[in-house]
Symmetry: C2
Subunit: 245 residues, 2 copies
C-alpha cells in the first residue's frame, strides 16, 4: 500500500519501529490513558496506511515492553499499574519459602527539602531542586523487614503528601492515576551495608547487622527519572531473586 521506508538518512528505522514510536507518542500524550481499549489492529493499520502485519509487529513490541496488554477476542489494552504488575515487574523480594507478597507500609516521616548532590545526580536534576522525602517501614508477614527512603521531585508530584489522606501502599498506581506518570522501567543497584542505629531501631535488630541495600531509579514512558528509592532489607527471612535468561 505504502512504499517501504526510504533509506536516505543514517538513522534508518524499519516501518514497524516508526509505527511503534508513533503509538508510544500517543500513549505518552495521554490520548489513551491506562486501561483504555485501543482501536483494533485493522483500524490502526488503516489509519497509518500500513498492513496489519506491520502494525501487529509494532504492537507486539509495545506488548514486550509491557506498555500494552494483548487479549485475544477483546483487544489491546493500555497497561495499568495493578498489584499484579508491581509484583511481577518491580518487586523481587521473596520469603524464605519462595512465596512473594507485597509488603504493608508504615509512614515514618514525610518532609519537603532540597536534593543533595548525589540525589540530584541520580535523578539528572538541577542541584538543590525541591524534592519530597518519604521514609517508611515495610512489613512482610506482619513483621518489619525493610526500611525505605523515597525521593520524589516536587515538580512532578505537586500536592503529594499535603492532604491528610494516608499514602497508599503501592505508590506507582497513585503516580499513574493522580499524576498521569507511568513507571515503565527501573534500574536497581544492590549492595550489602551495615544497619545504622536508626535502621536497627526500626527493624528491631542490632546495629551493624548486614542489610541488603537496593537503590532504585524509576523511569517513566519517556525514560525520565521520576523516583529515587533506597531500601534496606533484613535478609534473614527474605531474599532478592533475579532470574537470568
Amino acid at each position: 500500500m505504502t512504499k517501504p521506508a526510504p533509506r536516505d538518512d543514517l538513522a534508518f528505522k524499519p516501518l514497524y519501529a516508526q509505527i511503534r514510536d508513533l503509538l508510544l507518542k500517543r500513549l505518552v500524550s495521554g490520548e489513551w490513558p491506562p486501561g483504555t481499549l485501543l482501536p483494533s489492529e485493522t483500524a490502526l493499520a488503516g489509519e497509518y496506511g500500513v498492513s496489519q502485519g506491520t502494525l501487529r509487529k509494532a504492537l507486539d513490541e509495545l506488548a514486550a515492553e509491557r506498555l500494552v496488554v494483548r487479549q485475544q477476542g477483546r483487544g489491546t489494552v493500555v497497561a495499568r499499574h495493578d498489584n499484579e504488575r508491581s509484583l511481577f515487574q518491580f518487586f523481587h523480594i521473596h520469603g524464605a519459602d519462595g512465596r512473594r507478597q507485597l509488603p504493608d507500609s508504615k509512614l515514618i516521616d514525610l518532609t519537603r527539602t532540597t536534593a543533595d548532590r548525589e540525589e540530584a545526580d541520580a535523578l539528572a536534576f538541577a542541584p538543590r531542586s525541591r524534592v519530597l522525602r518519604i521514609e517508611r517501614v515495610r512489613y512482610l508477614d506482619g513483621r518489619p523487614a525493610m526500611v525505605e527512603t523515597l525521593i520524589l521531585p516536587q515538580a512532578l508530584f505537586p500536592g503529594l503528601g499535603e492532604s491528610d489522606e494516608p499514602l497508599p501502599n503501592t505508590l506507582y498506581e497513585l503516580y499513574q492515576r493522580r499524576y498521569g506518570i507511568t513507571v515503565a522501567r527501573a534500574s536497581e543497584q544492590l549492595r550489602a551495608v551495615a544497619a545504622d542505629p536508626c535502621d536497627a531501631a526500626l527493624l528491631g535488630l542490632a546495629p551493624g547487622t548486614p542489610l541488603l541495600e537496593i537503590r532504585r531509579i524509576a523511569r517513566d514512558l519517556q525514560n525520565r527519572p521520576v523516583e529515587l528509592r533506597r531500601s534496606r532489607l533484613d535478609t534473614r527471612q527474605h531474599y532478592y531473586l533475579n532470574e537470568l535468561d
Copy 2:
C-alpha cells in the same frame, strides 16, 4: 502447504512452537554444536513442510532465549559461550564508575566430596551425590573483591580438576567445549551476610563486614541444574546491577 496443527489434545501448541521444540531438540542432541551455522530458513522450512514465516517465528523464539544468534547476510549461528555472553547474560557486577569487566580468578581449594542436604536440594540431586567443590577468590581491578564456592556434580563433569591444567577464568566456556553442557539460564538469590573469618582473611577486611551473597543455580538447555555457586562480594567498590523492564 501442510494443514494447521490439529486441536485434539489439551496441550495444544501452535505450529511455530512445535517447530521451536523440534529445533531445540536438535540443539540439545549435539547435532548442531555451538558455533555451527544452521541451515537457511528456506531449507529448514522445506524440511519441516512449513512456510518460511512460521519457521522464522520459531527461530526468533530461540534467538530471544539467546540459544541462537541471527546474522543478516550470513545465517543463524548456535550461540557460543564467549566472554561477551558471560558478561551480558550472567555477570551483573559493576565497578563504582559503572564499568563492567570479568574478574580474574585464583584457585584456593578443589576437593571431591558429597553434597550436603542443602546442596542436594538445590541441585535436585540424590542426597550424598558425589560433587566437586571449588573455592576461589576473584579479583576486580587487581584487588580481591569476591570469594566464590562452586558445587559441580561429578557425574556431569568427569575428570574436571584431575589434571594439572589450571582452571580457566570463565568456566561456562569450558563446560560447553569440553562437556557439551551449555548454561542457558540461571537464577540468583541475593542476601546480605557478615564476612566470616575465612572470607575476611581472603578479602583483606574485618570479620563481620557486610558482604553481598549471591547464590546461583545454573541450568542447561534442558533446564537441568548443572552448577551451584555461592559468591560473596565486597560491595564497597562494586555493586550488583539489575535492570527491570
